[in-house]
């Protein structure tokens, strides 16, 4: 990374500085390492928000830059969460099982331990055997590889089929939505091997770690901030040169790019897969902070929210996606957490827990109609004013 690269991307420097400052501030005010002004549960909320910002920039790259409105990227996010969740749950349950068997006079056999873990995990769906897909759950390394590999390969196969047939525009959006819906419905089944609608739970407990949640939550916040920083720099570098030009060209006039000799499908497939992998990494960091993952997380509505965040924040600029995701998801937490004061109208009381979604929907429509550049567009206005002065 040369000096000129940094100089040419002042917003990236500002972003990284703000992210570092934010992380430092939360650390200083945290319960674990600081004054305790910021509660552990709020640290978790912020850590999760950073992960949502990361998946939002992936969404911005595929939609804002390449013009592919994927309504399925949350499927990759969820799959990342499931993959890390399998190891967390296996290892944690094993720990508990071993402790409970400690006092037995006859030491338990491997099979007995394995059966006990399986019963613990799968009893809830009426099974006591490990499904095949849990073969690697004992190994953190292998599951970490799967975090990247499973969503990556799914994106590759799905993308290859869709782009090769030149499915574009709204049809592609529908197709991606069908993909995430199908995946969610499959995972809802009890015999899918991932505990059906119960999902994977207790993910906030790290195996072999005795530190309190207040500390663990800080570790995840740091990891999430680092991942967001890396993701931001990675995409900025990728899109800054000729590759970014071609990608924007594909968004603006796909056919023209093709006649220039670029295999448009290869570019789309590459971006679809890379953004899916970044989404999966974000998910793998998110769900240990959330503590639970179930198939409802990857229903199409989640991916639609993702698009709404990016639209509200401002498409085609990475910081716009970050602003959108952070702003809307934190606001959503505030409104749905019951903290927002209800508005009594006499004949009817507006309760924000119910009406927040309406507000969000209306603001999405308004942004699309009147401020297509989203919140990020405000920065353009400021810049223009400065130039005029």
């Amino acid at each position: 990374m040369g000096k000129s690269f940094l100089k040419n991307h002042p917003t990236m420097l500002v972003f990284l500085a703000l992210l570092a400052l934010f992380t430092l501030a939360i650390t200083v005010f945290s319960e674990a390492y600081g004054s305790g002004l910021v509660s552990t549960s709020f640290v978790k909320t912020l850590g999760k928000t950073l992960c949502l910002c990361l998946v939002a920039i992936a969404m911005d790259v595929i939609w804002g830059y390449a013009g592919i409105l994927s309504l399925g990227h949350f499927a990759f996010f969820g799959l990342g969460g499931y993959m890390i969740g399998m190891w967390l749950m296996y290892e944690r349950t094993k720990e508990v099982v071993l402790r409970s068997l400690e006092n037995q006079t006859i030491p338990p056999t491997e099979t007995e331990i394995s059966d006990a873990i399986a019963t613990q995990i799968f009893g809830v769906v009426g099974s006591s055997d490990f499904p095949l897909i849990w073969s690697f759950a004992h190994s953190l390394t292998l599951q970490l590889i799967l975090v990247v590999a499973v969503p990556g390969i799914l994106a590759l196969i799905f993308g290859w089929l869709a782009f090769r047939s030149r499915v574009t525009g709204v049809y592609l959006s529908i197709l991606t939505q069908a993909m995430t819906l199908a995946l969610a419905l499959y995972l809802f089944q009890n015999d899918s091997g991932l505990r059906g609608n119960n999902g994977l739970s207790g993910l906030q407990n790290l195996p072999h770690v005795t530190a309190p949640q207040s500390e663990i939550s800080m570790w995840f916040l740091w990891a999430s901030a680092a991942a967001l920083g890396f993701g931001y720099v990675f995409f900025t570098m990728m899109l800054s040169g000729k590759f970014g030009m071609v990608v924007k060209g594909i968004r603006d006039n796909e056919q023209r790019v093709r006649f220039l000799g670029y295999e448009v499908e290869h570019y789309k497939l590459f971006l679809f897969t890379v953004t899916a992998i970044v989404a999966a990494v974000a998910g793998a960091l998110y769900y240990p902070q959330a503590g639970i993952i179930n198939p409802a997380e990857i229903m199409p509505i989640a991916s639609i929210y993702l698009a709404v965040w990016v639209a509200i924040g401002g498409r085609g600029r990475l910081y716009g996606a970050v602003i959108g995701a952070a702003f809307v998801s934190l606001l959503s937490t505030w409104f749905t957490g019951g903290q927002a004061p209800d508005i009594p109208l006499g004949f009817y009381t507006i309760s924000w827990v119910d009406w927040w979604q309406v507000l969000l929907g209306v603001s999405f429509v308004l942004v699309t109609l009147y401020a297509p550049k989203g919140i990020g567009g405000l920065f353009d206005l400021l810049k223009r004013k400065e130039v005029q002065k």
Partner: protein, 245 residues
Amino acid sequence: MSTLLEVSGVSVSFDGFKAINNLSFQIGKAELRAVIGPNGAGKTTFMDIITGKTKPDEGRVIWGDRSISLLGMSEAKIAQEGVCRKFQKPTVFEDQSVRDNLMMALKRGRSVWDVLKYRPGADNARLEQLADEIGLLSEFSRPSGELSHGQKQWLEIGMLLAQDPQLLLVDEPAAGMTPAEREHTTNLLVEAAKTRAVVVVEHDMEFIRRLNCKVTVLHEGSVLAEGSLDHVTSNQEVIDVYLGR
């Protein structure tokens, strides 16, 4: 003169309508050719077939010294082979600068990997030279969306030249241009045809006269006449279907 492109016996129909009917066409390696014909004669479909956008029902399209078939190749592969196309409406990437448009067109590796590791520094001189050729050096860093209609046309021609193609397909290059701009365009095309094949589709007879080249008249999807402009304009059939109206 050896043949660069040979189209023989090509037909294509859309929903029963025969857009191209047993069309044959040849062009040499350094030749300028004008293609004229009334609306619906199949001029654009003809270009679509050569560039791979439309697959013909029958016929052959043979290309280059190695006599390979262009049928069944993707648009991008055909473009990489050296067939480049300029559309009727100027289509440049409006969000991006003149320099970026030319850089994308410049003949360099087209794969994802090539493009990701591309470093622009080495090509700056070449890009400036290209911009100079098309008279846009002073607009080098401007977003191309801010250019005038004629300037966009030139930029697109510049993008074609940047690709260093063997065959240039140009659809109505003079549409909407001022007389001065037309002259500039004519010069660019005549200059280009010294080293490569150029096919110009045009309605404007005056423009074609200036090009001073062989003319192919299309009608109802096949070749009606071919020869010098004076030769085809004195052909009774051509007068009936095209000029006489």
